[in-house]
Symmetry: C2
Subunit: 271 residues, 2 copies
Amino acid sequence: METEQGHPLDAAIALEPAEAHQYRGQTSVDYANMVGPFGGVIAATLLNGAMQHPERLGDPLSLTVHYAAPIADGGFDVRARPMRTNRSTQHWLIELTQAGAVAAFATAVFATRRDTWTSTELRFPAPPAAETVPVAPAHPRAAWTRRYEMRFVTGALGETEANREPDSLTQVWMRDQPARALDYPALASLCDAFFPRIFVRRPAWVPVGTVALTTLFHADAAQLAAQGTQPVLGVARAGHFGNGFFDQSAEIWSGDGKLLAVSQQVVYFKE
Amino acid sequence: METEQGHPLDAAIALEPAEAHQYRGQTSVDYANMVGPFGGVIAATLLNGAMQHPERLGDPLSLTVHYAAPIADGGFDVRARPMRTNRSTQHWLIELTQAGAVAAFATAVFATRRDTWTSTELRFPAPPAAETVPVAPAHPRAAWTRRYEMRFVTGALGETEANREPDSLTQVWMRDQPARALDYPALASLCDAFFPRIFVRRPAWVPVGTVALTTLFHADAAQLAAQGTQPVLGVARAGHFGNGFFDQSAEIWSGDGKLLAVSQQVVYFKE
């Protein structure tokens, strides 16, 4: 999958500058989902609109993505603009449009980080080493799953009554396939690479879709550089299912127990 | 505090319609914080811009607020517009400006809910009944704390070395003061009514400020109506502190153990 443009993730999130604040991009068959593109790559693409903007200050601190409508295969426009720039933080609005209609949009905070007191309260689950856990096969209905190496420690898809789980907790070693050094867009995408929690709880397939997703980036640039191409541990669980929606919260950890990001999303499901 | 306009929260979040998508509001001394207004009331005010918009579809499902700059005491403009309206979901952008500059903005999803399979995975902590827990005094430096009745089950402010906590977990019974029937704006505000987690961990006062906050509303309109003026149980904890920022995650429960909302915020701190 190494192409002349480099890694398929870089090709998928590439944006070509047009006029001020405007870019052109296009969907990638490598990251296709059942309908339209994989949401993680949409998140990474929107983040990329701010990442490569000439007025960018610092690195990503938070990203909220709204999946407002289906995205058709093909080209799209991205408009990224700073809403407010302060001394050490910058707030962004980034919109993805097709044929003039908003299909997705994001808000983000970028910030300059500095050394301070540090403490992690969430607990690293200390799973078995990645190389001791077998790689799961890609999902036949979702092309994007071929672009991630996934090794499930616990909470794989509950595809039959026999392996139906009592809760939706998943712990999974993950990395880009082929391996790629971790950066903020790749981390943003990984935060959406968990299967919908309802499929861990219930074997039946039903239509689902992420409505909105927020990721908080704890890793600074040095931590991402130290991570390189090593697998990260993803942890995901649901809080509540009801009224046609559920929430999923996720954590992404380095192999040595550093919390790289936390993420929360609300997902539509049809019963 | 009952005024001719009714409850002080209603007065604080009131918006007067101006031209299409535009409203005028003003800050309230009742909900003043150390600098500018209490962030919970800003969240509720922005949500209110969509709540009372003639094109609104359904009820709030998620709300992300960016606290982009200090808000000065006095008047402000709010612009609320639907970015995309689907059959059962609607995505919003709501901006608060002063003197033409964006000081805060929010995105939101509104949705029509319907009965489906339901399951709660988060655990209700089964605290002692609210009436058995003493009411904490308001904080002398933050006027808004007089507008909430707070009864700390665990994790009050760690104001001295002696009561410094080993982690930042707080469980607190909360309600509007004076009592007020719960609705979506009041619930949005409650999600920001936890003291910054760093003050639970460390007795030293340092400058702090919420940068961005996302709330997912699990309660439907019937659950909110059933809640009435009863206290809710708030649970808050931090995931990680470092590089000048920390995250806080929160849950709001009804007294009988129904999960009404979950929320996540990223907070700046100066060491």
